[in-house]
């Protein structure tokens, strides 16, 4: 194991910025603040450039101005007007004009979400819960199916607040809470895994691309 430090100034800048941000773990300090504000500025600049070249230019500006004979050009012009109307939010008097652009977005998203959730989250999930609860030839699968169906029903009972959670309903809701606790525990375990993975990634960069101690 030896050092093979990168000669690339870009890698050195990346490594130093990484260490600046890690310095926050000791305490808040000017190096961290510098990196934090640099990050916000770089991100904001990156987003603007990307939205222009990868969305607005090919989907709006190029068909309008650089492709003569574009079919249904009026559609692009209305799109452009709606985009400009969005910026009226900066003016107190004219900001009501932005409602038209927002109406398009909200209408499309509300429609898309309503059908998407109805099909994928309600119909398909209810259908997948209709399982065979008893098959003497497959006892293990039967128990698993019972666990699943009981869990789904009890979880839904827990979230049903139109009836008081007493008696059998209360019992089902209590079982629903236990299922939810198991799922939150699993989610916590996976969250830990995810966060540690991000740290592993940063250390792999420092050890491999910067210091050249280990190759991943």
């Amino acid at each position: 194991m030896g050092f093979d430090v990168s000669p690339d100034p870009g890698v050195w800048i990346a490594a130093l910025l990484t260490l600046f941000i890690f310095s926050f773990l000791y305490k808040d300090n000017p190096l961290y603040k510098f990196a934090e504000h640099l990050f916000v500025g770089v991100s904001a600049g990156y987003i603007v450039v990307q939205q222009f070249w990868q969305v607005l230019f090919p989907n709006l500006i190029e068909p309008m101005f650089f492709q003569p004979g574009t079919a249904d050009a009026w559609k692009f012009w209305i799109g452009a007007v709606l985009c400009v109307l969005l910026f009226t939010r900066f003016s107190a008097k004219a900001s009501w004009l932005s409602r038209f652009a927002i109406a398009v977005i909200i209408g499309v998203y509300a429609g898309a979400k309503t059908t998407g959730f109805a099909q994928a989250e309600v119909v398909a999930q209810v259908q997948a819960t209709m399982l065979n609860l008893w098959d003497p030839a497959h006892i293990g699968a039967s128990i698993n199916n019972i666990v699943l169906v009981v869990g789904v029903v009890c979880t839904l009972v827990f979230f049903f607040f139109s009836t008081e959670h007493k008696g059998p309903v209360g019992g089902a809701a209590k079982l629903g809470i236990w299922y939810l606790m198991v799922s939150f525990g699993a989610a916590y375990g996976f969250t830990v895994m995810s966060r540690i993975s991000l740290l592993i990634g940063r250390f792999q960069f420092l050890l491999d691309q910067w210091l050249g101690i280990v190759r991943f």
Binding site: Q54, N59, Q204, V214
Partner: protein
């Protein structure tokens, strides 16, 4: 001050230092613990392996640098697996921060495996709009992405001349960090356009996707760096995910120890206060 009180008041920076060491040491000196392939990861591998060689596959890399350690190995292994089967890849991205990462993987593996851009793979780049892009994309690839990642009109690319919607594709491989991602692809595209799909996702999101796996809406699931390592093992090319699992193991054991220790101190002090 008793040990319990001292530990309860422990400066958290000592914990930070311990985490740092416990992640660093296994990266420098790996234990090489064996990795077992889980059911969902095996199903992911089989779903990709089962599609006919030479099929056209859509790969949606919906992530950014924050999730790269978990998802880049999944993307790399998936693209390698598909290229090995001579599959054609149409790639797109729905997260603004991710396109160069995905493009880098496509080009480096494309060069390594002798694939030609425009014929064997195309990177359409990024579009804003989240699930609306999925809807529009499913209707027409070329009307949603008139140009590719570098600005070349897609109608000039041979692969895109033969593929303009999901009817000619065999699989959607979605590498997802959150919103928009697998949930939205299932909601907006899987049912509407009748596509088969597999998902590689961050560990944070993976538990939420198990209902889709059980219902068959998603055929296979990779969850987090562990899932990426399992898929690397399945494809036979070990990479950064496999090499990170020892560090993952040691960190998890340490956090388990912290949970148990924290609670042991809490109960001991509560009992002591109860007696007093």
């Amino acid at each position: 001050m008793s040990w319990g009180e001292r530990l309860e008041k422990l400066d958290r920076r000592w914990i930070f230092l311990a985490v740092g060491f416990l992640v660093l040491i296994p990266l420098l000196f790996p234990f090489k613990l064996p990795i077992a392939v889980s059911g969902p990861a095996r199903r992911y591998f089989e779903a990709v392996d089962k599609i006919p060689d030479g099929s056209t596959v859509v790969v949606s890399g919906d992530f950014d640098p924050a999730s790269a350690p978990e998802l880049m190995p999944m993307l790399t292994s998936s693209v390698r697996h598909l290229f090995r089967k001579n599959c054609k890849i149409i790639a797109l991205q729905l997260w603004p921060g991710g396109p160069p990462l995905v493009d880098g993987v496509l080009h480096s593996l494309g060069d390594e495996m002798g694939k030609k851009y425009g014929v064997d793979y195309v990177n359409l780049g990024y579009k804003s709009g989240n699930e609306v892009v999925m809807l529009a994309f499913g209707t027409s690839f070329s009307r949603t992405f008139p140009n590719d990642y570098s600005g070349t009109p897609v109608k000039q690319l041979p692969l895109m001349q033969k593929n303009d919607n999901f009817e000619t594709t065999k699989l959607l491989v979605n590498i997802s960090a959150g919103y928009p991602g697998t949930k939205e692809w299932v909601q907006q595209a899987q049912g509407r356009f009748h596509i088969t799909m597999v998902s590689g996702s961050t560990a944070v999101q993976a538990p939420e996707l198990y209902p889709y796996l059980q219902s068959g809406q998603v055929l296979g699931l990779l969850g987090g760096m562990a899932g990426a390592a399992e898929y690397e093992k399945s494809t036979g090319v070990l990479g950064p995910a496999t090499k990170g699992m020892d560090a993952q193991s040691s960190a998890h054991v340490f956090i388990m120890f912290l949970i148990l220790l924290g609670n042991a101190i809490y109960f001991a002090r509560r009992n002591a206060q109860g007696r007093a």
